[in-house]
C-alpha cells in the first residue's frame, strides 16, 4: 500500500539523481525496478482471493496464508514469471475460486449469466403485470359515460 503510494516518488528521485553521479543512479534504478515489481505484485494481489478470509483480496488480508501467497507472487515475479503464469499457478492449487474475475466456462456459466437472467425475468414479469393492469382497466360503455356526464353536471 505505502510502497505503491511512494512508487512515483521513488522513480522521480531516481531520475533526478541521474544527474548527480553514476553510482547513485545505479542504486536508485534498482529501487525503481523494485517499485515496478511492487506495483505488478499489488495489481495481482488485488485480483486474487484470500482463501482463509474469503471476502478479502490477498492484498487486503493479513492471514498467514495470504502473507505466504504474497511472498510467492513477489518471488515469482522477481524470477521473471508473467502475471498469467502466476495466476495459473494459483488456480492449479486453489481452483477458479481464487480469481475475483473467474473465467467463463461450463461450471461458471450460471455465475456469469445468472444475474442477467434474473434481471430479464424481472423485466418480463414487470411487463406482464403492466400489460394486465392496462387490459384490466374498467371499460366504460356509452351509457356509463352519459351517466357520468350527467352526474358531473
Amino acid at each position: 500500500m505505502i510502497s505503491s503510494f511512494f512508487a512515483p516518488l521513488i522513480t522521480g528521485v531516481a531520475r533526478s539523481a541521474a544527474g548527480f553521479c553514476l553510482l547513485a543512479t545505479l542504486a536508485l534504478h534498482a529501487l525503481a525496478d523494485d517499485a515496478s515489481l511492487e506495483r505488478r505484485a499489488l495489481a495481482l494481489e488485488r485480483e486474487l482471493r484470500c482463501l482463509v478470509c474469503q471476502n478479502q483480496t490477498l492484498a487486503e488480508s493479513n492471514a498467514p496464508l495470504a502473507l505466504d501467497l504474497r511472498g510467492q507472487i513477489r518471488e515469482q515475479l522477481a524470477a521473471g514469471k508473467s502475471e498469467r503464469e502466476i495466476t495459473d499457478y494459483m488456480v492449479a492449487r486453489y481452483g477458479d475460486f481464487v480469481l475475483y474475475r473467474p473465467p467463463l466456462k461450463s461450471t461458471t456459466v450460471l455465475l456469469w449469466v445468472g444475474p442477467f437472467a434474473f434481471l430479464l425475468g424481472g423485466f418480463y414479469l414487470l411487463a406482464r403485470v403492466l400489460r394486465r393492469r392496462r387490459i384490466g382497466a374498467p371499460q366504460l360503455s356509452d351509457a356509463d359515460r352519459s351517466r357520468a356526464a350527467k352526474l358531473l353536471e
Binding site: L51, V52, Q54, P64, L65, D68, L69, Q72, V91, A92, R93, Y94, G95, D96, F97
Partner: protein, 175 residues
Amino acid sequence: MNKAGWTLGVFAALVLLLAIGLRLNPREVPSPLIGKAAPPFDLPLLQQPDKRFSEKQMLGRVWILNVWASWCPPCLVEHPVVTRVARAGLAPVIGLNYKDAREEALPWLERNGNPYQLIVYDRDGRIGIDYGVYGVPETYVIDRQGVIRYKHIGPLTAEVVQQKVEPLVKELTGR
C-alpha cells in the same frame, strides 16, 4: 397455468434455491487437485530432521495424508478420529506438519499421541501451498498411482470417515 399457480411455482423455486444455497458450505472450495497427481515433495521428517521423505516412496500404496499443526485447535479436535483411522490399519496415515515449530509439534505429539506412520516437516508451508492447503487440518486420500482421489477440509469426523474415507480407501485397495 393460472396466476396463483405461477406465483406459487416461482416462490417454491426461490425457496428451493435459497435452501440449497444455505446448505452449501461456502468455505469448502472445490479442489482442482482431485484426480491429479499429488504434488511432489521431499521434506525432512519431523522427528528425525536428518532423514527425508518423498511422496514417491508411497507409490504402489493407497495412503492418507493428514495436514496438521500444533497451533491449530481443530487439529486437536480431529486427533482422536485420525488416531482411530490409523489404528484401524485401513491405510498408512502420513502426517504433514504445516508451518509449525519442532519445539511445539513434538510435545504436542507426546501429549496427544502419535498415530502417524511418519510425519514430514513443512516448516515454511511451501508444500502446503502446492497441496492447496488453506485451512488446517486437511486430509487427502492418494491412490496407488499417486493420484489425489479425495480431499477433506477441516477436522475429520467419524461421519466423514465412515461415509467417504473408509469406502474410498476400501475401493482403492480392492478390499
